[in-house]
């Protein structure tokens, strides 16, 4: 917690130590970085969500796409930050949760007889919004605090603000994981998503030599930043976690030294009428 804060300060600052990413045509942060910076052509390609090897075999068999996606990007970010995951508090954020699991439960419960309404215990405990957080803590033996958030299409920005506030509050680095998985039919009808997408960031109040960027966050009322390239903007709008892309693009351009070509300030989708202003240095 900031000593002697006068409470009129409405800007929060933190440093991005690393990024993990998995999206269509964006297999990892290194490739995504050169694509977003315009140095490599973007070619959208659907992808398989990898299995997670970091869980004990019994747990590994029980997890669905959501947990696998979240843990994959989390592991990538932690590895890139060269910090032990055991020492990182976590903020998980997702608009959706595990849609396959949800659909299976609702299908079972649509039966009218008790003996037909049997949900497996694993399905039930996997239905909680904090399932990825639970599995992450087990996989990494991490007993530090963890929260799991949802704010519909503002979920990424809400998670970023929360992670930044925790990093400032504790003075310790923190891992943010934002992930959303497409729903199966018929839920996909009422909540269409065009892709699976997840991003993770290790954030810290203090900079280190490898820090990718300094972020200054503030609630604002300017319109959200759209992306110039149509494919990117479609991807941004296709999945709530992909709402991070304008921010990632600025970080990518900064990292690859073509930084002056873009505005340093962007606005991420937040809960209307607010947006989350992020200034990248």
């Amino acid at each position: 917690m900031k000593g002697g804060a006068d409470f009129s300060e409405d800007r929060l600052q933190c440093h991005v130590l690393s990024i993990g990413l998995l999206g269509p045509g964006l297999p990892d942060w290194n490739v995504a970085q050169s694509i977003l910076a315009g140095e490599q052509k973007y070619q959208r390609a659907d992808f398989e969500i990898p299995a997670v090897t970091c869980l004990p075999p019994t747990e590994r068999r029980r997890v669905g796409k959501m947990v696998r996606l979240a843990l994959t990007v989390g592991n990538a970010a932690v590895k890139a930050a060269t910090i032990d995951a055991h020492q990182l508090a976590t903020v998980f954020t997702s608009s959706s949760g595990d849609g396959d699991n949800c659909d299976a439960i609702f299908t079972t419960l649509a039966h009218t007889e008790k003996n037909e309404r049997f949900i497996s215990p694993t399905r039930f405990h996997n239905s909680v919004h904090n399932a990825p957080a639970g599995y992450w803590s087990i996989a990494n033996q991490c007993a530090l605090p963890s929260t799991s958030l949802c704010a519909y299409d503002a979920s990424f920005a809400v998670g970023l603000m929360e992670a930044c506030s925790q990093a400032l509050w504790t003075g310790e680095p923190i891992l943010l994981i934002s992930s959303d998985v497409m729903y199966p039919y018929p839920l996909s009808d009422v909540r269409p998503m065009g892709s699976n997408f997840a991003v993770a960031m290790v954030l810290n109040a203090a900079a280190n030599d490898a820090a990718l960027a300094k972020l200054t966050l503030r609630y604002a009322t300017e319109l959200e930043t759209r992306m110039e390239m149509r494919e990117f903007d479609e991807l941004r709008l296709s999945n709530p976690s992909a709402r991070c892309l304008p921010l990632l693009q600025v970080i990518a351009r900064k990292a690859l030294h073509s930084y002056r070509a873009v505005p340093r300030q962007i606005h991420l989708e937040y809960v209307e009428p607010l947006t989350l202003e992020v200034v990248v240095d």
Binding site: M1, K2, A5, D6, F7, S8, E9, D10, L12, E59, S95, G97, I105, F106, T108, L109, A110, T112, E113, R117, F118, I119, P121, R123, F124, H125, N126, V128, H129, N130, A131, A133, G134, Y135, S137, I138, C142, A143, S146, T147, S148, L149, C150, A151, Y152, A154, S155, V158, M161, E162, S165, L168, P186, L187, V190, R191, Y219, V271, P273, L274
Partner: protein, 402 residues
């Protein structure tokens, strides 16, 4: 040492099966009345008891402009907001603070998913599509209740739902605390809203954790939980010299993860113990300064046994402790905030609450000073526990301003 992290709680309200608002909650607790009734909810054919609220369609109407949000969870939220002058307290806060600097952080585990559960019974026979009355964004989505409450109160600030199962609405106090003390917001509406639905009832049934009788926390013959529903709200601001002596304070919040199992607590209660100790540390209090522990006390064999181990280890001198879930049921995503509200009533009434439904204290549990009956005594500090699936733990210390 960090700066003092106290928050002021100038208004709060709770609606659950014991009635709408604090007056009925208080009088029920004083008479150790239980609100649990045999489950006749919806089409549920389980042999269990529930803590159900009265939110039938002819009694609770959402405002016309918020009709899209209509579902059991938001209707319960709306009923809850009407109690104890809570809306007036928020209106006063809106006069003092910019409404874009008043946050809404709520916990829920169920959201309005009952609507989608019903929708799955009426899928189009040809296409398999959901009926048109299923409104995903404003009912089913986990954030629906926070959007709804923000609009119902005419606020325009930061908004989010914390959904960490049964610790959800305790952890919102930590979120608000950080945002308030970092100066990002000036006030916060926190709380929890969780409502009965088929997923939780049949889900806990599948885990064999539903009690056939009204739940009996810490009792020798306890056999599981009774599920309840509740809407609980609190207004939080930074503590200031203008707050009168005797007003309610949130003095510390402690969070931890078990890192052990998705649905069973750590066998030695390490996560629970860590959460309690962090809350005490942040409140700058030592264990003997806690006058009453409002336990999570769900009444499952395992949860109560492990919480007793954790409390016994963290408190050498045993303060009075109890669970009130025998009166309210386990309100899941609203349980953390309901525990805080009932803890606040203990401070206001100067009563350490007993444990409605509990008859014979389980002698095999680790030694704690468990109260079966209410005890009038000085209560200056209350510790309130909430633990959830995924190993998510949160403890909160409440006190009164000097």
């Amino acid at each position: 040492m960090k700066d003092q992290a106290y928050l002021s709680m100038p208004a709060f309200t709770a609606t659950c099966c014991l009635g709408n608002g604090l007056a009925s909650l208080r009088s029920s607790l004083l008479s150790q009345h239980t609100g649990l009734v045999p489950c006749k909810f919806e089409s549920v054919d389980l042999d269990t008891y529930v803590g159900i609220t009265d939110i039938t369609e002819d009694k609770v109407f959402l405002p016309a402009e918020l009709q899209d949000f209509d579902c059991r969870n938001n209707r319960l939220a709306y009923l809850g907001l009407q109690q104890d002058g809570f809306i007036d307290a928020v209106e006063k806060a809106k006069c003092r603070f910019n409404k874009t600097r008043i946050g809404v952080f709520l916990g829920t585990s169920t959201s309005g998913m009952l609507q989608t559960e019903k929708g799955y019974r009426e899928l189009d026979p040809q296409t398999g599509a959901l009926p048109s009355w299923v409104n995903y964004r404003f009912a089913q989505n986990t954030c629906s209740v926070a959007h709804f409450v923000r609009l119902a109160l005419g606020l325009g600030g930061p908004t989010a739902v914390v959904s960490t199962a049964c610790s959800s609405s305790a952890k919102v106090f930590a979120m608000a605390q950080r945002m308030l003390l970092l100066g990002v917001i000036d006030a916060a509406i926190v709380g929890g809203v969780d409502s009965l639905c088929l997923t939780t009832l049949y889900g806990f049934h599948s885990l064999q954790l539903l009690s056939q009788n009204p739940c009996m926390p810490y009792d020798t013959y306890r056999e599981g939980i009774s599920i309840g529903e509740a809407a609980v709200f609190a207004l939080l601001t930074r503590d200031g010299s203008y707050m009168p002596s005797g007003s309610l304070l949130i003095k510390g919040v402690g969070e931890s993860s078990d890192a052990y199992h998705m649905s069973s607590p750590h066998p030695e209660g390490l996560g629970a113990r860590q959460a309690m100790q962090s809350a005490l540390q942040q409140a700058r209090l030592s264990a003997p300064e806690i006058d009453y522990i409002h336990l999570h006390g769900t009444a499952t064999k395992n949860n109560d046994a492990i919480e007793s181990i954790a409390v016994s280890a963290a408190f050498e001198e045993k303060p009075p402790a109890s669970s009130t879930k025998g009166a309210t049921g386990h309100c899941l995503g609203a349980a953390g905030a309901l525990n805080v509200a009932i803890g606040a009533l203990a401070l206001q009434q100067q009563v350490a609450w007993g444990s409605p439904g509990t008859e014979e204290l389980d002698a095999t549990l680790s030694p704690i000073h468990y109260l079966v009956h209410n005890v009038a005594r000085p209560v200056n500090h209350v510790l309130s526990n909430s633990f959830g699936f995924g190993g998510s733990n949160c403890s909160i210390v409440l006190g009164l301003k000097d």
